[in-house]
Symmetry: C2
Subunit: 392 residues, 2 copies
């Protein structure tokens, strides 16, 4: 068989299996699921005149989110990037610090660090969770860091290493408790990038509860959406209050005076976006069921294929299956781009994983461990049409 | 007459006049006016699934805004602060630069400079426009700056002074053409803070067109609102494209790869907010008429009062009368806080001007000229209930 014929077979095998799930529909990668009170609550905002950051849906969204996740406090912000930036600054990351982030993530994980004036330091992810593993991180930091004063510095750059931002990739939870232990050993602030993991659990505990704070995203492509939006959760009431204060221009509470006690941000989620979020949270259990059902549909459709398989959650982990994926076997990785193009030619919305962050122009000179697992996953993972409507 | 009796008279004189305008209604300082397609367009977002930053209302809002103002390009962002930050960074302000801003402004003017890593340098405003005047600025900069290489530095701090951000206070336009001349003389980037001046004109030209860029705000309290939102306008297509790129994580356009060529921001306005904005822009002429009518109602009500007057636009200027104000005569300034408290006790929403920015904790050590006019206006100006519904 010629190589061209082999490629043709690979493409057909993949596309036939995908079509057996999505039929003739051609949704986006992850279209939102609006089946509840969205229009009703939006109309309420217009009728009452409360569309901006002062309005009852904002605290209601925070409370509903905190209750679902099991967090003490939630602070709603304009998006996940801003949430990560705010959490890092509010928890004490300083300009010139280094912050440990996975090489495999959406760019926001690194840009939030850069926005804080700090330097992302990339580490590899594990084959098991696609996120940072406690064992790998402990070993890497032990070889990298040296104690200076109260904290640790990177022995090569001399910069303080002050925080760790693991990411729960595509909804698969990392071992955040294990990472919290490592963070404790090296005096690192732990902020979980839970942008993709609303509804994901590790050993029965929701993602985002292991460190000082965690950040969710409610962008249009996420499990639930507020249009644009994010939220920081934390167990610490002092931290919650500080982040809320910083997110609202650091304006001091008083009867009428405009007084601000530090450089603040305009990061508060508007009421209109929170209204959408409240309606969406009401449907979260149903959406999670659909995402899981869709995973099963794809797993069945890909069963027995020779070119790859549908990755599943590991023992003890509960994925929200936010983005459905197909992992090509290594010998078929060479066909990844051809498959992506063939799908897109047929109107099937697929995409690769993010290019590892340590290869991006703005971060090429940032410190990085070798990242063979991130590179491998990037070389052969395909993200599939994942809209909940497909399991409707 | 005792002093207590005198204060009682002052309060009564003021409150009676305000009540003659607002009657028994007790709106907020500036509640939005929703009388058009708001609910219709919001429902369209939900029905089509486009609520996030990809959606047809975002470019439509940008085009409608640009057309109204007379700008070539508009870039919609999450709020005015982010717009100012993005414009400064995108036009070349570097960390460590100094940026000239008025001492009299909402804190965002200074915090946007700080977010860019630069240092705000405060100057006074003029009695005539309540904003920076070309004559005052030229004289101040001539004494402050010295040429170094291609540009100018502050001769006291040695820092490059690279940009000027005048603000159109409460809708009263500054002489932006005059300021553009001064900016040209000293090689300064000119970014107009037009957050409050949508619908304000100087000699027939809309505010925001004199420099390299200008920024509007669509917060809930502005002339029109998108819930939270802002926009940058510019005549330069290259600048517009750069700002749009930076506002969307600096992601390169290609078929499926996630590649980013610089540190970017997550600043793009979501579609749901833009939908509200499109509906609001349709009503902008009517809202401006109401704001002007309300000015006339207050001017009539305050006619002949001994304690102060209603400030009006000066010759050649067209104010949008976004916030209605009352200027106490200097000898009654001592009663400002008592009047504010008395109004608030009766449920009448008033507020003072912003505390001058060079007095705020985070900016006390920033360079500043003396600011007697800003201090004077702060000491005696009262912002009145300004909701367009009051002129309905």
């Amino acid at each position: 068989m010629t190589s061209a014929a082999a490629l043709e077979d690979v493409r057909a095998e993949f596309i036939d299996a995908v079509k057996s799930v999505i039929g003739d529909s051609r949704p986006g990668l992850h279209d939102p699921h609006f089946g509840g009170n969205e229009k009703h609550y939006l109309a309420e905002c217009v009728d009452t005149g409360f569309v901006s950051s002062v309005g009852s849906f904002v605290p209601r969204f925070e409370q509903d989110l905190a209750r679902f996740v099991g967090a003490a406090h939630a602070v709603a912000v304009v998006n996940g990037t801003s949430g990560l930036h705010l959490a890092l600054v509010g928890l004490g990351v300083k300009p010139g610090d280094e912050v440990i982030v996975p090489a495999l993530s959406f760019v926001a994980t690194a840009s939030a660090v850069a926005l804080a004036g700090a330097v992302p330091h990339f580490v590899d992810v594990s084959d098991a969770t696609w996120g940072i593993s406690p064992e790998g991180l402990r070993s890497y930091l032990a070889g990298l860091l040296e104690r200076r004063g109260e904290g640790f510095v990177n022995s090569h750059t001399g910069r303080p290493v002050t925080a760790l931002v693991p990411m729960h990739t595509l909804g698969f939870p990392v071992d955040a408790d294990g990472l919290a232990e490592v963070a404790g050993e090296f005096g690192l602030i732990l902020v979980e990038d839970a942008a993709e993991s609303l509804g994901s659990y590790d050993k029965g505990t929701h993602t985002g509860l292991a460190g000082q704070a965690a950040v969710f995203s409610f962008n249009g492509n996420k499990t639930i959406t507020t249009g644009g939006g994010g939220a920081i959760i934390t167990a610490d009431p002092v931290v919650a209050e500080r982040l809320r204060h910083l997110s609202t221009t650091a304006k001091l509470a008083n009867r009428y005076e405009f007084d601000h006690d530090q450089v603040g941000y305009n990061y508060r989620m508007p009421n209109i976006n929170a209204a959408l979020g409240v309606a969406q949270l009401e449907q979260l259990p149903e959406i999670l069921e659909r995402q899981r059902a869709l995973h099963n549909m794809y797993a069945d459709a890909f069963e027995g294929l020779r070119i790859g398989h549908k990755p599943s959650e590991t023992t003890g982990a509960t994925s929200n299956y936010w983005l459905q994926t197909f992992l090509l076997d290594r010998k078929f990785a060479v066909h990844k781009n051809a498959i992506l193009n063939a799908c897109l030619d047929e109107g099937i919305t697929v995409r690769p994983l993010w290019k590892p962050l340590n290869r991006l122009e703005p971060y090429r000179s940032s410190p990085s461990d070798k990242t063979p697992v991130a590179d491998d996953l990037y070389s052969r993972l395909i993200c599939l049409p994942s809209s909940p409507v497909l399991a409707g």
